[in-house]
Every structure is written in C-alpha cells, then in structure tokens.
Subunit: 419 residues, 2 copies
C-alpha cells in the first residue's frame, strides 16, 4: 500500500542502499544516479518512514521543548525562538523561515510540491506542555526518551521537591547517555550537571533585587509581594531578590531559608497572621506582606485583595510576573485606588503586553527570545556551550509609569473611596 524505499529503488533501478544514501546525503553518490533517485521519489511521492529510519539509525529527528504553560507567552516566546533555530537547517534569524525548499541540495524541482521524502537534517521541533506538573514533565521526558529524541530543552523554573529533582536528574542522565542533547533554558543548573549540554539561567534574583531597590529609592517601605507557587525555583529566586533588597534597606529580614514555611503556598496564609514564629518584628512583616499564588492573572487579583486587607497602608505591590501584575492592577482599581498615585505596581518578564498596560508596567526585562534561540542552537550543536556549561542571563530593570513615589501622607488610605 504505502510506498517504501524498495519501491523507489526499483523505479530508479538502483539498490535500496543507494536511495538511502541520496536521501540522507551522508555518502557520495554519482550525480546522475542521484537525479534518477530524486525523480523516482517525487514521482512515487515517497515519504520516509520515520520509525523505521529511527530504529535502524538508533536516533530520531525529534527535538522536544518542555514548557510549563503553553498559553503563557513567557514560554511561547522562548519555545518559538528555539523552534526557529531547530526547524530548518540554518534558519537563524528572528522569525524568517527558510521555506520548504532547502534539504540536501535540491532546488525544488516539480513545482512547490516539494517537502517530500527528504531527510536532510530536518528536525521536528515539538513543544510539550507540562502544565507545571512534575509528573507530566517526567512523563514527557520518558515519551521523548522512548522516541530517542535528538535533543530536549527544558524551559522555565523547576519544582524544588527533592524527590522530583532526583527523578528528573536521573532521567536526564539516561537521556544524555542515550545520546540526547539536554539543554536548560530559564532554569537553574542541576546538581550534577554533567548530563546537560548547557544551562541558561535567568538572573531572577538580581532582577528582583534591582526592582525592589527601585521602589525603595522611590521612598516605598510598605511593599507587598505577590509570589508564585512556593515550590518553584523561579518563585524562590525572585522572592529572595526582593527580600535581599528589603533587608539591605533595614526592612523585613531575620529568618533565612526562603519561603518554604507556609503549607502549600496557597492564599490561605492570611489567617495565620498572628503566628509569630521567629519573634523578630521584621519576619512578621515579611511574611505578612507576601502572598503566594499561581502565575496567572486571577491569582494576582486575589492575592492583591488579600494584601490590601492585611495591610491597607501598602504603597507598592511587586508581582511575580507581568500577568500577575495585571491581576494586581485590577484588584487595586476595584478598591478605588489609583496606579501609581496610591499604589505602585511592578511585574517581571516584560511580556509584550506590559508596555501597553495603562499605566505602562514597570518590570524586569528578560531576553526570552534570545535565550530561547540560543537554547535551540545549543540543542542543535550549532553553538559552543558556555564555559562550565552554565550561563547566567541578565535581567534589565524597565522603569515605566506604574511606579512612582508614595503619597506623602503615606499609605493607600481608606479603601472606600470611589473614583
């Protein structure tokens, strides 16, 4: 029923081996023969059997890109950039695709029907949506391992549960052993990072610190923080950067060790406002002015409402990311407060929509596209890994209209005022 290599060979009057050789372009083949084969391929409309090919060659042209949330542009931008480097041979550029031609030296005979059975280095870059679930992440990794993927790119923060860290680490080691190139993008390096080709980590901590320093310089002291899910590295690093800045300014401080002290990282911490543990007044504030949620708009909205309830005098809200910041803005406005006059708001990531927010969002820019593209190149072996396999990617503070000095009379004032 389906056309096979043998059929093409017969039509071209050569052996199957020869057809294989012209298709893969790894071996010298006489130009005449080659032409004949290519013609037969087109005439028969032959399409290589991937599984058979992968089985025999013990490797496939699949490259997996794992993302936490495919509906979030944060991941979409990185994934798209990576794909643009992986898809066609040397696509390179920003968004330009080389088109269907290319391949192993052909110049697109037989009209634009092309894009047939050629194998030449074409990789199938696919993105897998883990939904932030560690189990799904592991499952996808196994599926990719099963497919003998050529490379795997893991994007975004990792879950910090030691059991999962270990499981992921073990899995990546196996993948690497099997010849799969593993690249981390926007994720901190693994403990024993030998398995990984390269790890591109964002400077979340530094970015967060500079952002909060900006707020402090403006004169804010009561700064609320809407954090992401408690167990993620990204969440922890950004929160730590924020707290570092606060402590350096003599605010908050005390207990070390991050954010793992609340159960489940939910929005339910509010009821424990009196739980003084460490004793230090600073610690009290630090926890009281932090609410965890998801990296989505709704969480930003709910968390901000909670923050305003806990501390009506808050003059600034720092959100885990831009999306969360949008939710925060909505909550603030709903309470009849103005941005930035009554409350300043800041985000993180500098997603495309952030500049269009009203007022434009002060945030921390992460070079998502560049990082994704670099990860793609690394995965393809088109770029040499950074020394030690680890690179930290800078985060740039973008000051815009959503942050301003606090009101002189301090605090947001009563919550009842209508606009």
């Amino acid at each position: 029923m389906t056309v096979t290599l043998a059929d093409v060979a017969a039509r071209a009057r050569v052996s199957a081996a020869t057809v294989s050789r012209v298709l893969n372009g790894n071996y010298p083949v006489a130009e005449a023969t080659r032409e004949r084969v290519l013609r037969a391929v087109d005439e028969l409309d032959y399409v290589l059997n991937g599984p058979a090919s992968s089985l025999a060659a013990a490797t496939s042209d699949l490259v997996g890109i794992l993302v936490n949330d495919i509906a979030d542009p944060f991941f979409g931008i990185m994934a798209g950039a990576a794909q643009s480097e992986i898809g066609e041979s040397g696509a390179g550029g920003d968004a330009g695709w080389a088109g269907a031609g290319g391949g192993s030296g052909r110049t697109g005979s037989s009209g634009r029907t092309g894009s047939s059975g050629r194998a030449g280095g074409e990789k199938l870059a696919v993105v897998c949506n883990t939904g932030g679930s560690p189990e799904r992440e592991l499952t996808y990794l196994t599926l990719l391992q099963r497919q003998r993927a050529a490379a795997v790119i893991l994007t975004g923060g990792a879950v910090e549960d030691p059991a999962h860290q270990a499981a992921i680490s073990a899995k990546l080691t196996k993948l690497a052993d099997a010849g799969t190139r593993v690249v981390l993008c926007g994720r901190p390096p693994l403990a024993g990072g030998e398995a990984v080709v390269a790890a591109l980590a964002f400077d979340n901590r530094g970015g967060a610190r500079r952002l909060t320093e900006h707020l402090l310089a403006l004169g804010h002291t009561r700064i609320g923080y809407v954090a992401g899910p408690a167990e993620r590295t990204t969440t922890r690093h950004r929160l730590e950067g924020h707290r570092d800045a606060m402590r350096a300014a003599g605010l908050g401080g005390g207990v070390r060790g991050g954010i793992g002290d609340g159960p489940g990282g939910g929005l339910d911490g509010g009821e424990r406002a009196g739980d003084e543990v460490g004793g230090a007044r600073g610690t009290y504030d630090e926890e009281r002015l932090t609410v965890h949620g998801l990296y989505d708009r709704r969480s930003g909205y709910v968390a901000t409402l909670e923050l305003l309830r806990r501390e009506p005098e808050v003059t600034a809200i720092v959100a885990a990311n831009d999306t969360v910041a949008l939710g925060a803005c909505a909550a603030i406005r709903e309470r009849g407060l103005r941005i930035p006059e009554d409350v300043s708001v800041a985000g993180f990531d500098d997603l495309p929509f952030s500049v269009d927010a009203v007022p434009a969002l002060t945030t921390v820019r992460l070079p998502l596209f560049e990082a994704g593209a670099r990860a793609g190149r690394l995965a393809m072996g088109k770029e040499t890994p950074p020394p030690g396999g680890i690179a930290t990617i800078g985060a740039e503070l973008m000051v815009r209209g959503s942050t301003a000095p606090p009101r002189v009379d301090g605090g947001a004032g009563t919550v009842s005022r209508e606009r």
Copy 2:
C-alpha cells in the same frame, strides 16, 4: 547497552511477546505473570523503543498540533486544551493532569519512580509552530506523516493561496489514508473535506458583524478597520462580517469579493487613496478605512496611526484581534486622544488580558479552550464528530468600557490636544 524487550523477557522468564502484551495492555495476561513482568521492567528500568514499536505496529503515539504562532495565547490556549485531552488517558477536565500513575491498570509500585516503559494509550501531544508560513505547515505535516502520527490538529486560519490549499488538501488526504486522524480547529472546512474527521470553525463573520452592529448602534459611522494579513481566512471572514454590517447600515458597500484587491496586504495602501475604482463613493471609504497588517501589537499601532492620518474624524477602530487592539490603543493615546471618549476601540478573541486593559476591551469572545479540548477529543476518537463533520462555534459579543457613543461634535477632532 540499552535494555530491550528481550532482556525484560529473560528476567521475567517469559517470552518477548508476553512482555509486549502486558506493556500494551491489549491482551489478557495472567495477573501473576503480569506482576513479574512489571517488576522486571522496573528493575531493569526498561523504556520501550518507540521507533521499533511504531515500525512494527505501523502507527505511533504522536499527535501533532499545528499552530500559527506559539507566542500568541490565542493558539496557546487551544493547544493547551487539546493537549490536556490527549496527554493522559481520560484527563478530561480543565487543567488537571491525572499524574504519572495511571497507565495500564498499575497502581504505581516501586515508589514514584514510575512513568517508565508503560505504553498504555499514552499519546505524545506535541505542538508545532508554523510561524504562519504555509511552507512550514507543509513541512511539519510531512514530518508528522513520516512519523506516522496518530492524529493531527490544525488550528487557526488558513492561507487562501489556491496552490497551498491544494497542497495541504492533498497532504491531509494522504495522512488520512495512512490512518492519521485529522481535525481542524478554528479553521474553515476544506473543499473536499472527506479526509478530515471534523472541522470546528469559529463564527468569525457573525462575531465581527455583531461587533460592528454594536458600534453602529452606538452611533458611529466613521469606523476604521485594522485587518490581519490579507491572505488568511480569519482575516477575510472578520473583515467581511464587518463590511456586511456596514453595508446593511448603508455605509461602505458596493464592490463584492472581499479584500484581495490590494497588493500584499501591507500598510502601503495609503498612497493610493485617490485610486477610485468601483466609482461608488462607498467603496472608496471602505478601502480607505481599512489597513492590513499582521496579528500583532506593532501592526495595530502602525495601522492605527495610518488610519488616523487618512481620516482624522474616525470615531471608532475595530481591530483584527485583541493584540492588535492593544497596539491601536497605544497609537490613539499617543495622539492625545481618549478611549472611548474620542475614539472607541474593539478587539476580537477575548484573550485573558483583554478584560484588564484600561478601559476593558470590548471584543468578541471565542471559546478557545472548549474548542481546543473538543478538537483533542475528536482527534482521540473520544467524541463523535458533528453531523457532516462540520461544526460552527459561536462567537459572543462582549461589550466593555472601550466602546461608547461618539462625541456629539463628531470626529476625533484635532490631534494636538494634550491630555
């Protein structure tokens, strides 16, 4: 080096066929044997060889989801929803993953190491980013065909070039012939749609019509339209809906046949403002008040500036989608005009951020998540296709703060006024 089925068979003291059977769960196997095999699998840390399996079974567990722009939540939401239905056996719900357990009846022995060599119905849902390029679309389809994908979901509008339509159609037919289930989501049905399991099309035309009718009811008559790329079905349908409404109100009208009359759909039409072709004054306006661009923020910005230049008295701008609308808002504000007092703005899609725009964006809601999920189910054969294989998905008008009656003195007035 790598563990194979035979190794597992040897360790479990059964034949390879038996191992295969317990792994695939398609055949009755004695409970005792089954346990033994599973234990051996875990002990050996065996992972099924996908290519070999696909080769022998003549089908793979790969499901491809093609999107035009992975960085656009419009596609991300649909793709994520589809994946949630495909990933795990019966995940079903909104965003909840069943976790790594599951599989063919096991209850997760040996800790959470799990997610190993089980094959049971697990599909690898992958999204492929075409970047809107027809060539890439074709290439991905070929790659998927090569992998013997179990199913393919095409999302979003199609390019209207007949040559490509034909090429895609032919390719889909081949895929279907090879047993791949093809589903269209947010894309109009094909000419000869036999190859397709189902086509879920959005009511872009109806939605656009109702949106413009809303504006007309408000009293607007000089309405600018920022359209998407000229050659896409989505662009055409939305524009036609808009013009239908305008004509029904006695505005615009005349020449039939859509938007294909400008070269390349660029922003370059402005210089031709005097080209009166049809003769009817309405036609003139229709084209003068339409500018094409991409489905991104920047295009919305640039196109709106152009629209304001062509017709300073414009009182409303309808954008091709919400992202474009954001750019339009930026342009309008930059010209010192207020939304909606001076100029009303409307979008399309109702993406999550639209409700957070200031003022909140009037738009047309498309049930992206539901549609994506349904497409996923259809692709998995978990849901029976609609009659005729075609379903039109409703679009709901969402009236919010960005649209209001035009100013009584008409028009946006001079552009120099500062806020």
